[in-house]
């Protein structure tokens, strides 16, 4: 009787926070730390739903270590300091064993000290600027070498691009990524005057000047492309302006790192056909496991029109890695899981296996997709094998010599191979 009751209680109260108190000892708790209000709700709400779906599916399979999983959802409201408070609440008050969450780099940076201090686990699902490796954090999104560098290679080799506009929103991810790209392009022999770097504020909505700058930069007789690290909301007016100004993908292609299926759902994609995005997953991936995932997602969310995207796949991979590591370790204890998870390999949605590396980044394929009229992407190029996420870029002076390896005996996130010491440059 007792177990039936527990199951019912868990099933019924899955998304609620603390009401399942009676069943508390019987469940393993998983924290979901995504903004459900404020500016980032637009991207993060979907990830919260994806996590609830993954946990529900795992429970259908019999849970973990013989126990049911219970999601604890909190809302950090797109407020960076609140992320740290909510993370602390999840770990200390709700006693969760792992947390899946954060989107922007600044929110990740704000929760890092909390996870370190309380020795818990964070799975971070979004592509980011690299230059970081922390013992308690697992980076399931792409590092720059898993997204930005292959995208630039593609444009250079397949499209013959010689002139580059690096356009981004003014914050840490675009600035670091563009720094890496600039160093990379120069190493490839691109001249200073063939690179134009441009930053805009968050939520920039008047793109007339920048689009016309791109147009005139592109009329210097060389093939030009735009590498866009423009974030979230600002993309819609940017692409609208591009479309209206008649900049076609055949002439000046734009490759974006923050535009996925979800972002395209907010605009008419017809004028954007052919513009590119680099990700590790597209909803259009033609594999059985992806078809299953999409079907489960539609059933869970109750809407056939909802799309899937790359950070959702990252959560899918991260969650399965955590499940496997817990089973391997036989406990949810953070230290045991950190030791057990390195080397764990789980299927990704593009038909391969992703492995957790010692630097707490994972292996992924890199796909370049072209936007289609229906708001989906069509893969036009992909890396031949999996790419290992590189925490420390090989193209920046300060981080060239650093490596991260969290296995004993090294156990260091920023080991300097030049000086032989742990502790950065």
């Amino acid at each position: 009787m007792k177990t039936t009751f527990t199951k019912l209680a868990v099933a019924g109260l899955m998304a609620s926070t603390m009401i399942g108190g009676a069943a508390a000892e019987e469940t393993i708790k998983v924290g979901v730390l995504h903004s459900l209000s404020g500016t980032m709700a637009i991207s993060e709400t979907t990830l919260k739903d994806a996590m609830l779906m993954l946990i529900e599916e795992q429970n259908k399979k019999g849970g973990l270590l013989g126990k049911q999983l219970e999601a604890v959802v909190v809302d950090p409201a797109s407020d960076w300091p609140l992320f740290a408070e909510k993370a602390r609440e999840l770990i200390e008050v709700n006693d969760v064993d792992a947390v899946f969450g954060a989107w922007t780099s600044v929110s990740r940076k704000s929760v890092l000290p909390v996870f370190e201090e309380l020795n818990s686990l964070l799975f971070y699902p979004v592509q980011y600027e690299g230059e970081e490796s922390q013992r308690n954090v697992f980076y399931t999104g792409a590092a720059p070498n898993q997204q930005a560098i292959p995208a630039v290679d593609y444009l250079m080799n397949e499209e013959g691009v010689e002139r580059w506009v690096l356009a981004g929103t003014d914050y840490v991810y675009p600035r670091t990524t563009n720094k890496i790209l600039e160093a990379y392009l120069k190493a490839k022999g691109v001249a200073e005057e063939d690179i134009l770097i441009n930053y805009t504020p968050f939520g920039h909505s008047d793109w007339q000047t920048i689009v016309s700058d791109i147009k005139s930069f592109g009329s210097a007789g060389k093939k030009t492309a735009v590498v866009s690290t423009i974030n979230g909301d600002a993309n819609v007016p940017f692409y609208k302006e591009l479309g209206n100004a008649g900049i076609k993908a055949e002439d000046i292609p734009v490759v974006a790192f923050s535009v996925g299926e979800e972002e395209l759902a907010g605009l008419d994609a017809e004028p954007l056909v052919g513009h590119l995005a680099a990700w590790n997953y597209f909803q259009s991936a033609d594999t059985d496991i992806n078809a299953e995932f999409i079907e489960a997602w539609h059933a869970f969310i109750g809407d056939e029109a909802r799309v899937t995207n790359d950070p959702m796949e990252a959560h899918f991979i991260g969650f399965n890695m955590w499940v496997e590591a817990v089973e391997k370790a036989g406990t949810t204890d953070a230290d045991a899981v950190i030791d057990a998870i390195v080397g764990v390999s789980v299927p990704n949605l593009t038909g391969g296996y992703s492995t957790m590396m010692p630097n707490h980044h994972i292996t992924k394929p890199v796909l370049i997709g072209e936007i289609q009229g229906d708001g989906q992407f069509e893969t036009v190029w992909e890396t031949s094998g999996l790419v290992v996420g590189d925490a420390w870029s090989d193209f920046l002076d300060g981080s060239k010599d650093l490596i991260a390896d969290w296995r004993a005996p090294l156990s260091c996130g920023n080991f300097n191979t030049a000086t032989g010491k742990c502790g950065g440059s």
């Binding site: 500016t39 637009i42 700058d213 009329s219 819609v236 209206n244 052919g274 009229g373």
Partner: protein, 540 residues
């Protein structure tokens, strides 16, 4: 999709036409193996196959190529035959790519799309250009000539010469000559020819020509190089002059957006003195009204889509206006004379409205489509003017004029002005001041709502829409002078133009900071803004 179909039919006509005027015409069936070949292999092979199709020189292959470029050319998995498709619900309607006869339907899994990428689209564009230079419709010939211009293929010179000899339309002729010049510069023809070509391009004078000439400049020697250098300098000079005009245009456009966002606030804050932090959310409600109207039109009357904005305008005005009146009656009227409480209360309301919209419509962006007359751009000299920006400027001016008219010429406007100038005397004269307050606030909110309809055309429709405009709106109203609509107009335009002139030099981020600093300094000097109200009303 229907556009593509029209194109295909068009090309079908062309194909049919050329049968009659009979150039080297082959039996369509002999082309079929070549067309079916497209279904095989990767991009590199597809490129070769396109080349083979073009080499036949037969315009009958144009529809297949056009469909390939548009991504509607599929092949049947069972027999590998190629069809032009049109999506019809869950199935695809098949059309024969050569005879253009309907060939029934096929399920999603029976057919597969032939993949194209940007490179292939470029190849197809160029190929279609050379195939359709002799088309009967001058518009098609024009597009063809433009495509040939971009391709700059020396092999097309011959085709261009033939086309030019029979061309009657002057504008098409001009583009063909330019296309020929572009191809000549890419060929190994003699210097005299090339210098002629440079002159043609120099007269063309736009960025495309500049791009080409810079290329010539760096890749040639002697006289040709000198001629190119002179031409480049000449074009750059003229473009620089046009750039200032373009900047002013951008400034006016940004100014009109600011004006739209601020003009409702100019009434609620400027005239009534209510610090309404929920003003941005009124704009958002207007934008969501547009979304709802378009959704309804899409599902029930797709033919009305071109008019969706006109239908949305009054509804957005009503929706935002009613919410505004409800806020005034429910909250603000208890707080008159207490600006700090008003500020906090309306800030709270703005959060409630945002989260309400997030719960109803979801947190993601909603797609508000641009009607055809709001899309695209036209060239004015060397300036590119996009239709949506142009109409928004016109619309902002109309709203401004309309509002002026209401305030100056109607009895409601008279009452409003009377109440704001001297509330007690107005009340003594029998004006029901609470109702005037509510309606004035409703008017300000309603105007914000119709601004939302316009902004939905250029910005995201998301719950955060309003937040992006609230600071700018206050800035405009304070800068222009509280209580003066003309001040709002001049303030918005000034800030727009200043911003756009700073942006190319300082960048968007710094530019915005400079504008803020400028306003702070300006307010220090003239605390009442550009157009200060004078007289006793100010002191009350």
């Amino acid at each position: 999709m229907s556009l593509v179909r029209t194109f295909i039919l068009l090309f079908g006509l062309i194909a049919g036409f050329s049968v009659n005027i009979a150039i080297a015409q082959t039996d369509p069936e002999s082309l079929r193996p070549l067309v079916n070949e497209l279904a095989k292999g990767k991009y590199a092979e597809t490129e070769k196959q396109i080349g083979a199709l073009v080499a036949t020189g037969d315009p009958a292959v144009a529809p297949a190529l056009e469909a390939l470029g548009a991504g509607v050319l599929f092949y049947r998995k069972s027999d590998g035959s190629v069809f032009i498709t049109e999506k019809a619900g869950k199935t695809y309607k098949l059309t024969d790519p050569l005879t253009l006869e309907a060939k029934g339907e096929a399920g999603k899994r029976e057919v597969k799309k032939i993949k194209v990428n940007n490179k292939l689209r470029r190849v197809i564009r160029a190929a279609l250009g050379s195939l359709t230079l002799m088309a009967p419709d001058p518009e098609v010939r024009k597009t063809a000539a433009e495509a040939v211009f971009k391709a700059r293929d020396p092999d097309s010179i011959e085709a261009l010469d033939i086309a030019l000899a029979s061309e009657t339309d002057e504008s098409v002729q001009l583009i063909m000559e330019q296309a020929r010049a572009a191809a000549v510069l890419n060929s190994d023809m003699d210097e005299a020819q090339k210098i002629n070509a440079i002159e043609t391009l120099s007269e063309m004078g736009n960025r495309d020509a500049l791009s080409l000439l810079i290329n010539v400049q760096s890749s040639s020697e002697g006289v040709v190089r000198d001629a190119a250098t002179i031409a480049v300098e000449k074009i750059e000079k003229s473009i620089a002059a046009w750039d200032s005009a373009q900047n002013i245009w951008y400034g006016l456009s940004l100014g009109s957006v600011l004006l739209l966002a601020a003009i409702g606030l100019a009434i609620t804050f400027g005239v009534m003195g209510v610090i309404n932090m929920a003003h941005g959310e009124m704009v958002m409600i207007g934008a969501y009204t547009t979304f709802v109207v378009q959704e309804l039109i899409r599902t029930s009357a797709p033919g009305l889509f071109e008019y969706s904005l006109f239908i949305a305008l009054p509804l957005a005005f009503l929706a935002s206006g009613l919410v505004g009146i409800a806020i005034e009656r429910g909250v603000i009227r208890w707080l008159y004379g207490r600006p700090l409480e008003t500020l906090l209360a309306t800030w709270g309301i703005s959060l409630i409205l945002q989260q309400a919209v997030r719960s109803i419509f979801g947190p993601t962006n909603r797609e508000v489509g641009n009607p055809d007359w709001m899309s695209g751009a036209f060239e004015l000299g060397q300036m590119t003017i996009t239709y949506n920006r142009m109409w928004i400027i016109v619309f902002a001016m109309l709203v401004f004029a309309g509002l002026m008219l209401v305030l100056k010429k109607t009895s409601f406007g008279l009452n409003t002005r009377a109440v704001t100038q001297n509330r007690r005397m107005a009340a003594s004269m029998g004006i029901r001041t609470p109702w005037v307050d509510a309606l004035t606030f409703g008017l300000g909110s309603g105007i914000a709502g119709i601004a939302g309809v316009a902004l939905s055309q250029i910005d995201n429709v998301s719950p955060n829409l309003g937040q992006g405009y609230i600071i700018d709106s206050f800035m405009v109203v304070v800068f222009g002078g509280v209580g003066n609509l003309w001040g709002t107009l001049v303030g918005a335009m000034t800030l727009g133009v200043v911003n756009k002139f700073l942006e190319p030099y300082a960048g968007a981020v710094l530019g915005k900071i400079f504008v803020l600093v400028f306003i702070i300094l300006f307010i220090q000097k003239r605390p009442r803004g550009l157009f200060a109200l004078k007289g006793r009303a100010v002191e009350a």
